[in-house]
Each structure stands twice: as structure tokens, then as C-alpha cells.
Symmetry: C2
Subunit: 130 residues, 2 copies
Amino acid sequence: MTATATSNTSTIANELVNLCRQGRNDDAIDRFYSRDIVSIESVGTPEMPAEIKGIDAVKKKNDWWTENNEVHVVQVNGPFVGDDQFAVQYTFDTTFKPTGQRTQLSEMALYRLKDGKIVEEQFFYHIPGA
Amino acid sequence: MTATATSNTSTIANELVNLCRQGRNDDAIDRFYSRDIVSIESVGTPEMPAEIKGIDAVKKKNDWWTENNEVHVVQVNGPFVGDDQFAVQYTFDTTFKPTGQRTQLSEMALYRLKDGKIVEEQFFYHIPGA
């Protein structure tokens, strides 16, 4: 680990978290995501495969999520900073509009940087009471 | 966030990771865990509730896991350092001895510090191919 690498990672991590706390996730993507971003969910569904590639596919996924979920609370905890990776904890209280089911869910996102851009995001889940 | 808090967190996080890389998890628990540690799994089982309290219960849980799993590979990635919290990614390739089922599993552990001791550990899962 080098001090410079960690400092760059810390700067991007803190700026991403600040944008997400303001609900400006789209701005965070435009600013920090590589065009070749790989996004890895824990579990795929028929509508959404577990691994998707490219910034347009990630934006489409986020739009789908926003359109289909009523968000009651989002909490952003972190960032947690490594060398060329950082993690953020997101806690959601949402209602999935198609079914009306309300869910509390906490996830860790682990981001990997290359040449100052986020090239991979991977999600890990905790479902309270599951 | 204060520089001192982050520095203390970084020191403990790196020492814990170093011990875990050597397979010395018991030493990490003895050295850094509060006697009143709270350990939160994502999902409970009849043998092991989702939330357990106290250093003896955590050691018992770890012993149960070690006795019941044949470990092929463990990878430790991190640490990822925040103010009074840090995260570590663990990737396991294990066979659960009672069933013979082999599983690849990746998890993020999020640790919370108070007065220089780990008072909470929480686990978030990613199961490739699930």
C-alpha cells in the first residue's frame, strides 16, 4: 500500500459518499465510474442478471430500482478506505412497488479503482431478521 | 472523523488482518475483542442464532465453524478503514463436513471499535453463482 494510492482512494471515496448522501447517485456514476464498470450483485433475477457490464447498463439498473422502489429511509455509512478499494455501507427501508412488500436491508458495497475511476462494484447483503 | 481515531482504527485493523492471514483468529479475538462483543450474522440457524453476545459465545461459534468445515482456501482482503469502524473481506472455499457440500463464499465483516476494543462484528454475504 502506498500513501499516495490511499490518499487518492480516500478522496474519491469521500466524494462518492457525499454525493450519495445527497441522493445524487447519478452524478456519482457520471463522475467516478469507468465506462467499462462491472457491477456484481449477490443474486441475479430474471429481470436483472447478477453481473452487468458498462456504465449504461448500470444506469439502467439504477433507474429500474428507483422506479420500482418507494424509499422511506437511506443511510450511508463510511467510507472505509483501502489501497485501491473502498467500502460503503448502505441501509435501506423500502417498499417494492409491484408487490407492496416493505423491506429493511443493509448492504456493503466494495468498490475497486483503476486509473482514478471505479471499475468494479460488488454488493454484500445483510437482511435483518432473515 | 479525527486523524487520531482513524490512526488507532488503522493500527488495530491491520494487526487483526495480519493475524487472520496467519490463521491466528483466536489470537485476534483475545487481543482485540471486548468481553461484551456483539456478533451479528445475516441469517440465524437452529444451531446458531443470528446475534450472539460475549467473547465466550463468539469463541464457541468459531470453534463450531472450524470443527465442521474443511477449509480449502481462505483469502483476506483489506482492511478498509473508517473512523471508529473498519471492514475486511473474507473469501472462503470450504466443505461442510456433515453434508460434504463444497461452497465458495465471500463476505464482508464490518467491525466497530470502542475504547480500543472491537465491540461489534457484522457479516454481509456474497455467494457467487447463487
